[in-house]
Symmetry: C3
Subunit: 658 residues, 3 copies
C-alpha cells in the first residue's frame, strides 16, 4: 500500500436526494481517499428477479473516477430482497427459536441452494458492472459474515454427513458424546433427532464448530467467484467482526477468523468501542493484534464509529487519538461507518461523519484534521511492521464450550471473552504488546512467552505443541480452565490440566466457588480450582479456612522452560504481579509507564523504529522518554532518552528513532 | 348533567348468588346513583350462536327502575365467547408474536369481518333489549379499546391499501422510508413482506399510526349502530384509558384519544393510580386535564379503584380525597371498578367496594360518606368550567417513534411518557393547571404558553402553527427531542429543531449521553443535546470538561414571543426555575404554595369561582388563603384573603368565591 | 432393614471405558453397599424398536452379585429414545409454550397411549432381565416424576371428562369458576376451549390439581407392573423430589407426594442443598420430616450431592455431617448422585464421588470415612423412630393457588414455599422437630400443635377437622393467607378466615402492602392482613399511622384449645416470640440451644433414646448436655446431664440415653 486509507462507507442509495458530487467533494476536502459501496443494497441492484440496476453504484464510480477517489466494492449478499424470500421462503434461516421472519439482514440460510444460486448471480453481475472502473481498488466479501445459528434442514443434513464421516458408526458416535446419557443414543443414523433442543452440550459444541466452518466456506466460495473478475492489483478483503456486548469484545463466536482468513488477500475488520470517558484503546489494540496476526501483516479498519450512539459522541481529539491508535497496531488506515447519518430505519442513531442535517459540522472538521495528518505523515507511518515476543492464544471452541459450561454458573459474570479480555487488557495496561493468535495458527517458536486464558479445549496435538514449547525453554502462562477438554468440550478422563500436569507440577480435581477465599490478600472473584501441588513452586495458596492447603498460583520449572498456572480470577493487582514475574522469566523488559499512557511500537517502511505514546485520559501527563534518542514526527522536536515528554489529554506523540 | 354521577360497575353475572336487590339497596344507601352493566359478558348474553339471553341484564334493569338507579349499558364486544372463536378461529388477533390463543379479553382482530358481523348483531340485540328502560342514561362503547398490536392479514392488507393511496408508487414508498437500507425496497406492491419483523422502525411508526386509526374507526362504527337505538337524551361514552405501568401513566399507545373522541358525546375515562403513601393526585389531574380537553367539557370517570390491589387499599380519607380531586379537574362524578370483589379468575385481587365477604365494611362506609357529600354539595360542584392558560401538548406519533428510537438507549429509563409526566408533574406540583392537548387538536390562540415535552414528531403544518404562535407573542417551552422528525418518525434532513431554529435562536447536530455533565449545578439525567447557540440567550451551558461550549437551556425572543429550549433532562429544581421564568414571561402568576398542597380551580354552574385546596400528605398543613374572600363550601366558614386555612392529612377544603 | 444403605447411582453406560469391577471394588472399599442402576438409559436398553440389550445392566448385576453389592433397579421411562419419538412424535409433551422438542428428559406426555404401551414393554423386559439376581433389593419407579405441565390433547380431554363428572352441567361449571367473567362461559361441553391460555386462574388451579393426580396414577400404574415381577422382599420406592430453586425447596408442584405415596412400599427422595458456608441442614430436615411422614416410617435418600456444582464442593467434615443429618431425620441411609463425574452433556459439572479423572480423591476419602462409621454404628442408628408433637401442614393446592394469586404481587419475593420454609426453618432453628404433613393426610389427634403456613386452600371438611382440633384442646398456629379459598382457589364469599372466625376470634376483609408498618417494633415484610378483632387477645397491632386499629397477631382461647393467627410476614424475632408462647401453651418444652446447634432425636431399634447434636457452622461450640445421662456413641464417652459437650465446626455428637 502506498498511502494510508482514509474514508467511509457511502450509501448513495440511502440519500434523501442526489448528493454524490457534493459528498465526494466534501470527502476529498477532508483528505479522504477511499469509500466502500454497494454492499447491503441487493434490492436496489436487482429490484426484481433478473432485472439489474447498478446505476446507483456506477453513478458513484463515475464520480469517484472523476474526483480521484478509491472505491472498495462490497458484495451485497448479506441482506436479501423481499422478492427472493417470497419466491423461496426457505431462504430465511431457521435457528433454535424457529425460522426467522423477513426483515433483518444476516438472516438467511447460507447453505440454501436457492440462496446460493441467486447470490452467485448478483455477485457476478455486480463484478461485471464495476469491472471497467480503475478507482476500484478491492472487493469486500459479504459483510461481517457469521453462521446465523443455522439449525435448518440443510445445515443439519450436512452436519449428519460430517458426523458419519468423522465417527463412521453410531456406536462410536454414541460413545464420543456419551449419548447414552438421558437416553439420547441412536442405533441408526436415520434416528438422529433435530439437535436444536439437545441437552448434549458437546453435540452443540461440535455443531457450532461445524457451523463456523460453513461460514468460512461461504466466504471462500465468494472469493473464488470474485477472483474470476478482479484485476491482479485489486485486493479481496472482509470486515471480520468481534464478539459483541454493545461494542467489539473478544472472539467472534459465529466464525473462526483464522479458518476464514484464507478467503482474503488483505485482512480487514470492524472495530466499535466505548468512547468519551470509557475510551481506553483496548478494543482497538485487541482487534488489531488479532487481525494483524491472521496474515502476519498490515490490515484495514473497514468500519469504525465516527459518532455512532450518543454515548460514543467523541470528545475533542478523541477521533484523532483513535485513528492513530489503529495505525499503531499495524492498520494501514481506517474508514468510518458511515459517511452520513441515516434518516430512517434502525440505525438512524448510529450516526456518521455528517449529522442528520447533512452539513459539515464538528465531527467533519475532526475528520478533516485527521485527513491532513494522514497525508502529511503517511509515508512514515504506513506499513508498520511489528514483532511481538508474547502470544495470547484464543480459541473459538473454548468460547463455545464455556458458553455451555459457564465458569461462573450459576452467578453469571465471567464469560470466555471476559477471561480473554481480563488477561489481554492487563497486558495492554502494562504496555506489553502481544499477538492474539488462534490456537490452531500458533507457532510457538515465534514467541518467548505464550499466554492461555481459559483455553478449555485443547487437541492432543496442540497440547503437545505447548508442552514442547515449555520443554524447549518457553514461558507458558495459563489460567484457570485451561487444558480440560477436547475440542468438542468433552472433558478428559485423566488428571487435569490434561497432559500438562508434568509441566505445571500440580494437578487438581476439585473446583469451588470463590466464597470468601483470598489470594495474596485480594478476594477471589468467581472461580477457584483447588490445585494439589506435586513439585511446583507454590506462589500462593488460598487464604481460606478450609482451602488453605490448596494452591492458587503455581510456577514450575520444566526442563528448559517455566510454566505458570493461575487457578482463580483474582484482582488485577495480583495478576500484574505474577505476570511481571513471568515476563522477567521470559526476558521481556517493561516500560516504566502504564495505562492511561499506552506505548505501541513498530518499524516503519524506511526501517526506523516508531514509538506511539498515547494518553487515554482527560488529564495531561508527563513522562520521561524511555526510548533511544528520537524525533517527534509531528512537531519535529527531538527527544533524547530521559527527556520530559508532555502528552495532553486524549493526545499522543509519535517518535521516530534517530 | 343534573347531579354528580356516583356509582360502580356491577356484574350480576359474576355473583355467587342472586343479590341484585340487596346490592342495589346497599348502593342506594351509600348515595350511589349510577351503575354500569352488560359489558364483558357476551358469553352470557349470547351463550350459543344466535341464542340470546339478556335476563341477567334486564333483571338488573328491572331492579334499577324500581329503586331509582341510573344505568350505563356497555356493549360487550371486547371479550368474545368461546363458541365464536371455535367457529371462526381467525377472530383471534395475530400480533408480532403470532396469533393469540383464546382466553384473555381484548384479543380479537377488530378488522375481522366475521367478528364485526357478530359484534354488530350482539350490539343491536342488546340495544333492543335495554331500549324500554328509562333508567338507562347512556351507552359505553366497548371497553378501553385499543388496536391490540394487530399484525393479522386484514390489518396488513388494509395497511397496504393505505400505503398505495398515500405513496402511489413503490419508488415513492421506498424513498419515503429509505427502504433501500438493508435491501428492503420493493419494486412491486405484491412483494410487500409481512412487516411484523421489519427493521424499518418508521414503517412500524406508520403502521401503529394506522392501527390507532383502525381502533378509532371501530369505536365510530359502534357509535353509528348505537345511534340507531338510543334516545336523544342518552349519551354515548367510552372509557378511554392511559398508558399503563401498573397504573394509568401518560398517553395511551393503542388509540389516539382525540381521533377517537368524535365517536362519543360524553368523554369518559378510567384512571387507576398509586395510593397510600404514593397518592399524589397527579394521575387524577393528568387524566382529567387530558380527557376534559377532548370535548372541552366535563367528563366522567367510568372506572377508578375502590380498593384494587393491596398496595392501593386506601388510608382513611383517601377515597374521599380522590373523589373530590376528580371533580376539581372537571369530572362530573366517578364510578368504582367494581361494586364487589370477585371470587374467581385473574382480577380476584382487584378488589371492589365490597370485600370478598360481600358485606358492607370499611370501604363501603368511606363510599357512603362520599355519597352523602356528593348529594349535599353537588349543585355547587357539578359542571365545573375550567379555562387554563397553559397547554401541554402530547402526541401519539412521538410516543411510538420514541419507543423505536428510545431517548435513553441503551440504558433505559426515559420513555416518551416519562418525559411528558416529568414536565406535567412539575407544573402540577407548582400548581400551574394546564390543558393536556393532542398536537392535532391544539388551537394555539387559546393559550398564553405552550409546552412541548419530547414532541419528536411534527408535521410541517403543526410546526408552522407553533412557529406562528411565538411570532404572534406566545411563549413556547420545548424540551429535548422536540421537532426532530416527521409524523412517521423520519428524521428531517435539515438543521434541528426542524424549521424552528429561528425561533429558538440555536441549532444542534450532536447529542451525548449525560455522563458527568451538569446543568446549573445539578447532574444531567440521561440525555443531552449539544446546542450550538446562534442568537439566543444562553441560560445555561453544560458544566463539563468537553461540552462547556454547548448550551443546555436557551431563551430566545422571536418577534413578539419567546421560545425556551430545554436540551437535557435535569433535576426538577432546574426545570422549576426555568418554568418560573417562562410563566412570568407569559404573564401567568404562581400561588405561594406547592405540592403536597394542590390547588385546582374553576367556575361552577352559578358562575362562582371555586377553589379546591388538597393536602396530598400524611401531615397537617396550614396555608394563608391566597384567594379573594371565600366561603368553605363544607363547613360554611368564611376565609378572607390571608386567613390561615388548616388542611389535615389527606384532606381538602373547597372554597367558593364570594 | 438390616443395615444402613450407603452408595451411589451408577451408570455403566456413561463410562468412557469398562470399569465395572474397578468401580465396585472402590465402592466396596469405601463401605458402600448399594447402587442404583438402569434408570435413564432406555435408548441403551432398547436401541431399536423391540430390540433389547440389557447387557450393560446385567454386567453390573453380575459384578454386584460377585462382590456382594445391593442393587436398586430404576425403570428407565423418564427419558425416551429418539426412535420412539420419531415413530410417534405426539409422545413429546405439549406445555403452555407448545410442544417440547426432543432432547431433554421428563418431556413426554405420560398420558399418551403409545408412550404407555412402549413404557410398559420396557419395564416388563427389564423386570424380567433383572429377576434372577438376588442382589436386587428393590425397584425405583421412574425418576422424580411430575406432570410436565401437560397441556396436550390427551390431558385436556381427560380433564374435560373430569369436569363433566364433577360438575355435570356447563351451568354448574360456569358458576363454580365464574366463567361469565370476560365472556369465558360455555353452553356446551364441546365449546370448551384449549385452556392453556385461560385467564381463569382457578381453572388452572383445578387443572394442575388434576395433572398431579395423573402423575400419581402414572406411578401407581408402574407399581402394578413391577408387582407382577418382584419378589416379596424387594421393595418399591420412588425418589420424590421437592420444589426447586437451584436446590430442594419446599413442596413439589408437579406431583402430590402423599397422593402418590401409595405407589411405593418404601418412601424415598432426592435432597440437594446448599453447602459450604450455606449448609444449614434445613433442607435435609425438611425433606426428611416430609418424606418420613408419608409412610410414618423410615425412608431412603436416593440421591444427594457428593460434590455437585462448584458452590457445593464440601468443606472437610461436611459430607459426614450431612450423612448423619439424614439419619437423624429417620433416613435409613443415603446414596450419592452419582458415583463418577460425567465427561459429556449437561450434567458434567454436577460432579460425583469420583472427579473427572476417575480416581479416588479427597471426596472419595470423605465417603470412605462415612462408610466405616455407618458400618460401625449402624445397628444403633438404623430404623430410628420419631414421634413429634408438632405438625406443619402443607398443601399443593395452596401452592398452586398462591402461584396464580401471589401474596407479594407486584413486588415478588414471597412464594408459598417461602412461607412454608419461613415457618419450618424458624421451628428448625428453635430445635422444635415437627412432622411435615399434607393437609389431606393430617390426623390432628396425633399432635399437640398444628401449624399452617399460608394454607390458602381448605376444603370444608378439612376446615372442620382443624376447627374440632382446637375445640378439643389443640393449639393451632396459622399464618396470613390461611383458610381463604376452596381447593381450586375460589375465594369463599363469607368472612375470613373462612369458617374459622370463631376459633380465631377475629375476621378481616382488607389487606395492605407492608409499607412502613411495623409489628412489635420490627418492620413488616411484604404482606399485611388488617385483622378486625372480635373477642381475641390482640398480641400486636400494626404500628402504623393508619393501620394501628387493626390487629396483626391474635391469640384466642376457643373451648379447650387456643388458636393463634399471624397476619403478616414479620422479622424472625417476632415469629420466634409468638411461637414460644404457642409452644408453651401446647406444653412443649424447648431446648436451651438453638441454631447453629441443631438437636434431632428418636428411639433406636433397641428402644433407646438417641440424640443427635449437630454444629452447622465454622466455629466450635460448647453446650451443657440438656439430656438425661447419655453415652457418646462414637467416643463412648459418658455425658451426665449438664456436662459440657464440645462440638467442633461442622461436626456432631450422637448420644444414646443410658
Amino acid at each position: 500500500m502506498k498511502e494510508l486509507v482514509f474514508g467511509a462507507a457511502y450509501y448513495n442509495e440511502y440519500m434523501p436526494y442526489d448528493r454524490i458530487e457534493k459528498d465526494l467533494t466534501l470527502m476529498k476536502e477532508a483528505g479522504m481517499n477511499t469509500i466502500r459501496i454497494a454492499e447491503s443494497t441487493w434490492s436496489t441492484e436487482e429490484p426484481e428477479d433478473g432485472v439489474f440496476n447498478f446505476k446507483p453504484v456506477t453513478d458513484v464510480l463515475d464520480a469517484a473516477e472523476k474526483i480521484g477517489m478509491n472505491v472498495i466494492i462490497g458484495t451485497p449478499t448479506y441482506a436479501v430482497p423481499a422478492w427472493l424470500v417470497k419466491k423461496y421462503p426457505d431462504i430465511m434461516v431457521t435457528n433454535r427459536a424457529g425460522q426467522v421472519k423477513y426483515g433483518p439482514r444476516q438472516s438467511m440460510d447460507i447453505l440454501n441452494p436457492d440462496f446460493l444460486r441467486y447470490a452467485e448471480r448478483i455477485i457476478r453481475k455486480l463484478a461485471e458492472a464495476v469491472h471497467p472502473y480503475k478507482c476500484v481498488i478491492g472487493f469486500q466479501l459479504d459483510n461481517e459474515t457469521k453462521h446465523y445459528d443455522n439449525y435448518g434442514k440443510y445445515a443439519q443434513k450436512k452436519f449428519l454427513e460430517y458426523l458419519k464421516e468423522k465417527y463412521k458408526t453410531t456406536n462410536a458416535f454414541n460413545k464420543a458424546f456419551t449419548l447414552a446419557y438421558w437416553s439420547n443414543s441412536i442405533a441408526s443414523w436415520d434416528d438422529m433427532p433435530d439437535i436444536s433442543n439437545s441437552i448434549n452440550w458437546n453435540l452443540h459444541c461440535q455443531y457450532e464448530h461445524f457451523l463456523r466452518s460453513c461460514a468460512a466456506d461461504y466466504l471462500k466460495w465468494q472469493a473464488e467467484i470474485i477472483k474470476e473478475y478482479k484485476r491482479p492489483e485489486q485486493f479481496i478483503t472482509h470486515n471480520f467482526d468481534f464478539g459483541w456486548i454493545g461494542y467489539s469484545y473478544g472472539e467472534q463466536p459465529g466464525i473462526n477468523h483464522y479458518e476464514a482468513s484464507s478467503a482474503v488477500s488483505l485482512a480487514g475488520c470492524d472495530i466499535y468501542h466505548p468512547s468519551q470517558d470509557q475510551l481506553t484503546g483496548a478494543e482497538i489494540a485487541f482487534g488489531g493484534d488479532k487481525i494483524r496476526s491472521l496474515k502476519k501483516s498490515n490490515y484495514l479498519i473497514l468500519e469504525t464509529e465516527a459518532q455512532g450512539f450518543k454515548e460514543w459522541t467523541p470528545y475533542p481529539k478523541q477521533l484523532r487519538l483513535q485513528a492513530f491508535s489503529h495505525l499503531a497496531s499495524g492498520a494501514n488506515g481506517h474508514m468510518y461507518w458511515n459517511w452520513h447519518s441515516i434518516h430512517n430505519s434502525m440505525e438512524t442513531y448510529w450516526k456518521g461523519v455528517l449529522g442528520h442535517e447533512l452539513q459539515p459540522g464538528v465531527i467533519y472538521n475532526y475528520a478533516k484534521e485527521i485527513g491532513k495528518e494522514y497525508k502529511k505523515y503517511g509515508t512514515q507511518l504506513i506499513n508498520l511492521k511489528k514483532k511481538n515476543e508474547v502470544a495470547l492464544v484464543t480459541d473459538t471452541d473454548s468460547l463455545t464450550a464455556l458458553k455451555f459450561y459457564p465458569m461462573d454458573y450459576p452467578t453469571g459474570g465471567l464469560s470466555y471473552n471476559d477471561a480473554v479480555r481480563w488477561i489481554y487488557d492487563t497486558l495492554y495496561k502494562m504496555n506489553v504488546e502481544c499477538d492474539v493468535v488462534d490456537i490452531n495458527a500458533l507457532n510457538p517458536a515465534d514467541y518467548k512467552m505464550i499466554v492461555t486464558p481459559a483455553l478449555y479445549c485443547i487437541s492432543q496435538e496442540n497440547a503437545r505443541k505447548l508442552h514442547d514449547f515449555v520443554a524447549e525453554g518457553g514461558i507458558l502462562f495459563s489460567t484457570f480452565r485451561s487444558f480440560y477438554a477436547d475440542t468438542k468440550g468433552t472433558v478428559y478422563d485423566a488428571p487435569h490440566p490434561y497432559n500438562m500436569t508434568d509441566i505445571f507440577g500440580m494437578e487438581y480435581s476439585m473446583i469451588s466457588q470463590a466464597g470468601s477465599a483470598k489470594v495474596m490478600g485480594s478476594p477471589v472473584e468467581v472461580y477457584a480450582e483447588l490445585l494439589e501441588n506435586k513439585n511446583a513452586q507454590v506462589i500462593a495458596t488460598y487464604q481460606h479456612k478450609y482451602w488453605s492447603n490448596y494452591a492458587a498460583i503455581t510456577k514450575n520449572k520444566f526442563r528448559r522452560g517455566t510454566a505458570y498456572y493461575f487457578a482463580a480470577k483474582t484482582s488485577e493487582e495480583v495478576l500484574v504481579q505474577i505476570l511481571k514475574d513471568a515476563l522477567k522469566e521470559a526476558g521481556i523488559s517493561l516500560y516504566p509507564v502504564k495505562f492511561p499512557i499506552i506505548i505501541r511500537k513498530g518499524v516503519n517502511s524506511r526501517g526506523k523504529k516508531v514509538y506511539y505514546i498515547f494518553n487515554y485520559s482527560s488529564e495531561d501527563y508527563f513522562i520521561d522518554n524511555p526510548f533511544p534518542d528520537c524525533v517527534d514526527i509531528i512537531t519535529e522536536k527531538p527527544y533524547f532518552t530521559g527527556d520530559k515528554i508532555e502528552i495532553a489529554d486524549w493526545d499522543f506523540v509519535i517518535l521516530e528513532e534517530q
